[in-house]
């Protein structure tokens, strides 16, 4: 059975077949045929954002929370280029996103037509794959392939660029069953990198041997644990071997934080005992992480005594930043299962006692009584740990990472690799669609919030009950902190004015509260959770609060700054 359909209808059909239930987008000239067809598919919910960047972040948030590809849609030219930051964010953090863009008609490509841009060229380095579909006959297979590529192996964003006349082109559509195996699919080249290298049994034995004999072993768990949902496997392996677990920024919520084997976050803002443990370790079992510079500090001085077992899906990551003694290639779940069978029980008691000796109870020091720590503690109590937190980028991101106790899998979502300010608010919109039953908090600083606060309108129009928290210190705080530590307190371009956020919320028809002292936190958080729709809470925190400890950029993990630098001596 074939039907005569336009390319636009084929696109909608394929989205349905791929199980898409929501997409985030913004219409425009070159994508109009698609939007013309869309109302005929009522189960394909479309969320109109206020800026295409937000569409990409929302698709990313949806993908991270659901594990399924998130979809964003934009028109050609400026619509497509506005997706760029969001796609780069998804690429760096391995989130499966499918971006669909309209393109000028085929006969106008290359003539600098109105709203024409080479989005394929622009997004080539920041997508896992991208394609310009030049014939509606190929549309179904290319779109399906886009979903498959986004999802399979190490996930990532895929962009599909569709000229307007291809969207209007009528073709005989055969439906999923037959076209699925059509010529285009058959000719698909399997990316060489996704072919996993045969894992020699010797490697697994060697890894098990290293784990059995190490005196000071550590597990460093990254985003790969969340991507493979290897939570149980990670916990079992840690418990079977007694090896303490460190979670990287994107590995947070991959391992319950109340667990006695949980150590904390490593790296630039990692706790001192975590970084010290790394520097003393004789074995690091890295699970699904890429040893980013924010994690390792100076790589030459990173874990100088340690052999490294690198559990990794992407062969290009092995040896990229740190040399691996043994590489176990595959998804974390599979590999950890194999490792579990191969390792024998032990408990690493002496080593854990040694680490415990490194721990200092560090009380965060703030001048005002409204501390980030206090706010996050109240948030934990009021949500009873049942919420997903989407953070932005900067100082608050580090506080949110370190001071909220994540117990449930995949409940901490943030832009790690690219460090995209403005991610939290639109990201949380996507997360909420993946978790309609769960409270979702978008926590931003006053800088990042102002980068995408236009999306409050999206929440109102589409009735998306995201709760927004703003940690307002009147500065671009992380940059200010660097200026304080490394640039002689020259606060160049970091003081930032904010509007009255409560009035702003009101203007959008959203409930808002301002919290100026610790006593008001609980009431405001409770009230925000009680309103059915979106809500906003602004916390006026200390202006020059700093994130401690801190490893200066390029320094080794052994050189933390643990407290306020000495005041400058005036000349």
């Amino acid at each position: 059975m074939t039907e005569l359909l336009t390319g636009a209808h084929v696109m909608c059909r394929v989205l349905l077949e791929e199980g898409v239930d929501v997409m985030f987008g913004y219409p425009g000239g070159a994508i109009m045929p698609f939007y013309h067809a869309l109302p005929e598919f009522p189960t394909l919910r479309h969320v109109l954002v206020r800026h295409e960047q937000a569409a990409a972040h929302a698709a990313d948030g949806y993908a991270r929370a659901s594990g399924r590809p998130g979809v964003c849609v934009a028109t050609s030219g400026p619509g497509a280029t506005n997706l760029v930051t969001g796609l780069a964010t998804a690429m760096m953090d391995s989130a499966p996103v499918v971006a669909i863009t309209g393109q000028v008609p085929r006969n106008m490509i290359g003539r600098d037509a109105f709203q024409e841009t080479d989005i394929l060229g622009i997004t080539q380095p920041i997508t896992k794959h991208n394609v310009l579909v030049q014939d509606a006959e190929l549309l179904a297979s290319e779109l399906r392939e886009a979903f498959a590529i986004a999802r399979e192996g190490r996930p990532g964003p895929v962009l599909v660029d569709v000229p307007k006349d291809v969207q209007n082109q009528k073709i005989e559509y055969e439906g999923r069953s037959r076209q699925h195996q059509s010529a285009a699919r058959a000719s698909r080249s399997v990316p060489a990198g996704s072919r996993l290298f045969p894992r020699a049994c010797g490697d697994l034995r060697e890894a098990a041997e290293l784990i059995a004999t190490a005196q000071r072993p550590l597990i460093m768990a990254g985003h790969g644990v969340l991507l493979a949902a290897a939570y149980d496997e990670l916990r079992c392996l840690a418990e079977r071997t007694g090896i303490p677990v460190i979670t990287t920024l994107l590995g947070i919520s991959g391992f319950p934080e109340s667990h006695p084997l949980h150590l904390g976050m490593p790296g630039m803002h990692g706790e001192v005992h975590v970084n010290r443990a790394i520097q003393q370790a004789d074995l690091i079992l890295g699970v699904g992480l890429r040893f980013d510079d924010r994690v390792t500090g100076n790589t030459a001085a990173f874990a100088p005594r340690a052999k490294i077992i690198h559990v990794e899906l992407d062969p290009s990551e092995v040896g990229k930043n740190v040399p691996a003694t043994v590489a176990l290639l595959g998804d974390c779940r599979t590999i950890l299962r194999e490792l579990l069978r191969a390792v024998s029980p032990r408990d690493c008691k002496d080593w854990r006692a040694e680490i415990a000796g490194l721990m200092k109870t560090r009380t965060e020091q703030y001048r005002g009584d409204l501390s980030p720590e206090g706010i996050l503690q109240v948030l934990d109590e009021e949500t009873k740990g049942r919420c997903t937190i989407v953070s932005d980028v900067g100082q608050h991101q580090m506080w949110v990472a370190k001071l909220y106790p994540y117990e449930r899998p995949n409940t901490h979502i943030t832009s790690g690799g690219l460090g995209t300010m403005g991610f939290a608010v639109p990201g949380a919109i996507g997360v909420r669609f993946a978790r309609p039953e769960e409270p979702v908090w978008a926590i931003s600083g006053d800088g990042g919030f102002q980068m995408n606060m236009q999306e409050i309108a999206t929440m109102v129009q589409e009735q998306i009950p995201v709760k927004m928290a703003i940690f307002n210190n009147g500065y671009l705080g992380m940059v200010r902190q660097w200026q304080q530590f490394f640039h002689g307190r020259r606060y160049s371009a970091t003081p930032i004015w904010s509007p009255d956020y409560v009035k702003l919320a009101e203007a959008y028809g959203v409930a808002g509260w301002r919290v100026e002292n610790a006593g008001q936190s609980r009431e405001a958080i409770r009230a925000a959770m009680a309103v059915p729709g979106p809500a906003l809470v602004e916390f006026l925190i200390e202006q020059e609060a700093n994130v401690f400890p801190m490893i200066p950029p390029g320094a080794s993990l052994s050189e933390p700054i643990e407290g306020e630098p000495a005041p400058l001596v005036s000349a």
Binding site: L120, G121, Q124, P125, K128, H129, I149, S189, P191, A192, G193, S194, D314, P315, S316, V318, G319, K320
Partner: protein, 174 residues
């Protein structure tokens, strides 16, 4: 060839895949000396040869990055000594008629073909290792070189690759 690494890449023969491959080498800052591309023995696939001034580990990292590209079928790196590399150069030389004999002598010495000859010069073709081609160009220094086009090296590893099915080879040759 002295030192260096050869990256041999089999990829889909289209501009998009080619720019992806070249793009990843550029943005990851791999030290590339030359790039040559042309059809392979398999229809629809091209062979890309990249010469790198790098150690084996760096070249392997480049190969792993290339293999992530959709459309790249295989990528492998081998030291120059483990393969055979050749490049081709076309050289347009200006020479007065009385010096043509001298030009011919150099061409003979380097087994260079004379593709075109006119009253005021010639176009020569030479192939060989990079060092050989450079030596040839130096030998011509006494003449006025009007234009030089070098192909960049293509290379075949002694142990790399796998047999190509006969049917594909014959198709490719037609």
């Amino acid at each position: 060839m002295s030192g260096g690494l050869t990256l041999s890449v089999l990829l889909e023969h289209d501009l998009v895949t080619f720019t992806r491959a070249v793009g990843v080498l550029r943005r990851r800052n791999f030290p590339i000396k030359s790039i040559a591309v042309g059809p392979s023995a398999t229809p629809g696939l091209a062979r890309l040869t990249i010469m790198m001034e790098a150690d084996q580990a760096t070249a392997d990292r480049a190969a792993r990055q290339l293999e992530k590209i959709i459309g790249v079928r295989e990528a492998s790196a081998f030291p120059a000594g483990e393969g055979v590399a050749r490049e081709l150069a076309l050289v347009k030389v200006r020479a007065a008629r009385e010096r043509h004999a001298e030009l011919l002598d150099i061409a003979l010495l380097y087994k260079a073909a004379i593709l075109d000859e006119s009253a005021d010069g010639a176009i020569l073709e030479v192939s060989g290792s990079e060092a050989f081609v450079l030596s040839f160009l130096r030998a011509l220094e006494g003449f006025e070189l009007v234009e030089v086009a070098r192909s960049g090296a293509v290379a075949v590893g002694r142990t790399s690759g796998s047999p190509i099915p006969v049917t594909q080879t014959s198709e490719a040759v037609q």
